[in-house]
């Protein structure tokens, strides 16, 4: 399993729902959560594959900031 961590600006209920729908539709994703309390609105994804680039691309396309948080 891969754990993918991103810094985002997904900070509203609507944004959370929109991105949630997008992530739930992705079959490789086992689980995900956004830490709304954190300043970086950290998106944490547990995925069967390392689809980091694809996720960044899709969330950016939806109009949000999404950058991988370095180790």
């Amino acid at each position: 399993m891969h754990i993918l961590i991103f810094k985002t600006n997904i900070d509203t209920e609507d944004a959370h729902k929109e991105i949630g729908a997008l992530l739930n539709a992705e079959t490789s994703i086992i689980d995900w959560n956004i830490d709304q309390e954190d300043i970086d609105k950290v998106l944490r994804i547990e995925s069967r594959i390392n689809n980091t680039t694809d996720i960044i691309h899709r969330i950016s396309k939806a109009g949000f900031i999404c950058e991988e948080l370095p180790d």
Partner: protein, 196 residues
């Protein structure tokens, strides 16, 4: 690929407990914790989903460790006096050796995080303690009474002594150091009160 590192997990656990005790649950954040550990926020999120997940899992870990130590050499079929003595010895030993972890656990018990933690850790502990008390009553080694009366008499005095030890002072600012002598002396009185 991101890999788990047990050294980092230990470092995170120790720093988190220290920070939570110092700053409280509201003053605590994943960002501050990462900084204190000298690791990136990204790394911290590999181990924990968010602040709540971290606090609950730390509570479960510390609570389980404590209960495991409490149950060492103890079994539900022990005679009441012997079993309670073992419980006192185990609880005192754990408290004295793990003061920070105990303080953390006591603090977390008074928050909304307590419920999922207690649900998880008392699952195996509860039936054993329940059977112990049931056996003791059936064997006429313990008076029948409400659970709260039982617990406060059976364990309250021990925790009072341990709290004195924590402060280094007892009532009226008297200097106090926990000793087996005072522990057994108190236990004897507790047994007198509880047993027929």
């Amino acid at each position: 690929m991101r890999v788990r590192d047990t050294h980092k997990e230990t470092l995170v656990r120790q720093n988190a407990i220290t920070m939570l005790l110092r700053d409280g649950f509201d003053g605590f954040s994943m960002q501050k914790l990462a900084k204190a550990c000298g690791i990136s926020v990204g790394t911290l999120y590999i181990y924990y989903k968010n602040k709540e997940d971290l606090i609950i899992r730390l509570g479960i870990e510390e609570g389980s460790r404590m209960l495991k130590e409490t149950m060492k050499g103890f079994s539900a079929d022990m005679p009441f006096a012997e079993g309670l003595k073992k419980q006192w010895e185990n609880r005192a030993a754990y408290w004295l050796k793990n003061k920070e972890a105990v303080r953390f656990y006591e603090k977390i018990k008074r928050t909304h995080y307590a419920e999922p933690i207690l649900d998880e850790i008392t699952r195996s502990f509860k039936p054993v303690m329940h059977a112990f008390v049931k056996n003791a009553i059936a064997n006429k080694q313990l008076h029948f009474m409400s659970f709260e009366s039982y617990w406060s008499v059976a364990f309250g005095p021990l925790y009072t002594l341990l709290e004195f030890e924590d402060k280094g002072k007892s009532v009226g600012n008297r200097v106090y150091k926990f000793s087996k002598k005072t522990m057994y002396e108190t236990l004897e009185l507790v047994l007198k009160a509880l047993t027929p």
